[in-house]
Symmetry: C2
Subunit: 289 residues, 2 copies
């Protein structure tokens, strides 16, 4: 059952963070970092663990890489929630870091979480072969920075002041960077850890990432803050181009379903061993938060 596996991944990554944080200084910034890492679905960490298993590794061998992508993702959320960015007070059903502490602390918490991600990937425990560690760092740095996630954020900001709203191709390109890059890295990480070619996981991850974002847009319209744990209908209120706006609610749902079929098809070479990842793909469009 995918939901059980996802919960197991959350527990595994959180337990690993307990060990990691026991070795770090104790101060309000580390408290904020730990807080920002709690309460999520650990979807990216799960993808790392499961793709590692699919490539013949014990999930325990992929824990630091899973923790790294969760730290990277958490940094992006803490900074995205800042008043000068999306200005969100609520995340995962709790006050955001800058609300619970203050803005300056939230900047530092995010900054330190990004450093932590690269710290974890470069520890010998992450992968005994330094070439694999260097490969994980290189690919994550490019997925996170101005060639990946931050590029998507820059495209998002540019769209706000553009004369024309984004068309479907542009919003797909934007989301491939903004959320797709980290999801792709997660799915590819198991192959990288095993020293295998990460390319076969890419088609799966790209379809999954886009479906995930379309599902987010659908939830923004249909969800409640109580269930999603964050403010809803913000995008529509801000006049942003969304998949729902471009395709309609039914069209967006149909597109997400079609993408999940693509994602499942991409896993064909792995046969029955990839059943968990097929379930994961179906989950992202059926979730209610």
């Amino acid at each position: 059952m995918f939901k059980t596996e996802l919960a197991a991944a959350t527990a595994r990554v959180q337990a690993r963070f307990d060990v990691i944080f026991a070795d770090l200084p104790q101060n309000p910034i580390t408290e904020g970092m730990r807080y920002a890492l709690e309460g999520g679905k650990t979807l990216r960490g799960y993808l790392v663990l499961e793709s590692a298993r699919l490539h013949g590794l014990d999930p325990a061998q992929a824990e630091l890489a899973a923790a790294a992508i969760e730290a990277l993702h958490a940094y992006s959320l803490v900074h995205d929630d800042l008043p000068c960015m999306d200005d969100d007070d609520l995340r995962r059903g709790r006050p955001t870091v800058h609300v619970k502490w203050d803005e300056g602390s939230a900047v530092l918490v995010g900054d330190a979480l990004q450093s932590l991600a690269f710290d974890l990937l470069s520890r010998p425990d992450c992968a005994p072969d330094p070439a694999i560690r260097a490969d994980l760092v290189a690919s994550l740095a490019r997925a996170a920075g101005i060639t990946g996630m931050v590029l998507g954020q820059a495209q998002d900001i540019a769209a706000e002041t553009a004369a024309q709203p984004l068309d479907l191709d542009q919003i797909i390109a934007l989301q491939r960077n903004k959320t797709g890059a980290l999801i792709a890295w997660s799915a590819e990480a198991g192959a990288r850890l095993a020293g295998a070619d990460p390319a076969p996981m890419r088609a799966y991850a790209q379809a999954l990432g886009l479906a995930f974002q379309i599902a987010d847009d659908v939830l923004d319209v249909t969800g409640s803050a109580e269930v999603t744990g964050k403010q809803v209908q913000k995008d529509a209120a801000a006049g942003k181009a969304t998949f729902v706006g471009l395709l309609g609610l039914d069209g967006a749902r149909a597109r997400a379903t079609s993408l999940i079929e693509d994602a499942e098809a991409a896993l064909a070479p792995y046969g029955a061993a990839a059943e968990q990842l097929r379930q994961a793909a179906r989950f992202v469009i059926s979730r209610d938060h």
Copy 2:
């Protein structure tokens, strides 16, 4: 002549950034990144290049590591200058990134500069041996994050609300993290690139880093905004504990001089080959900005 060497390091690193940025997307965030990398003294990059030369490498082989530490340093300045942090409008004689663009862009510019630092270190061009690349990433991640620079920033914030001002030992510990960690990484990087033990450079770098910070405090009292290119007497106005406040102006200068003697002594094993680094040490306490 050290000043000539420093200017040559600046030119070398800036030329490398021109090549690096030619391969990156063109948008306001990359413009802000490039802007934030301009106009500095490149002291950290210089230390990387010179310690590489001291360890038998051609400086060209250390360019990516030098660019990486300058990117990491620039990220920290962009975020430090934010209104929710130090709230500075002026840096290196020009408007800070959030003034020239906006706060949200400044957050992203800093975030992307941090990612870029790890991107550069993990490129095969940085060091052909992946074990060395992984070592550079591991040491920089720890020097930058909550075990290094951000820890120093956290200690700085904690000091602002503490009942007692910091004593000398506490301010030394704070500065060893806040500014010392990146300076130490820079001086050690040449040894790491050569696969040599970085420990002998550490005593040099720690004394140098502390002297650098004391000189900064002295400049905060004696400098002019016109020459330093940033606001002065901010620390004293904010009631922060400073080396000048604790030791007096003459005491602070004497302490800096004594530290530079320590730094020069630490270079004894390298003999005459380390003359440039001795000059660099003397420079940090004689500079006027």
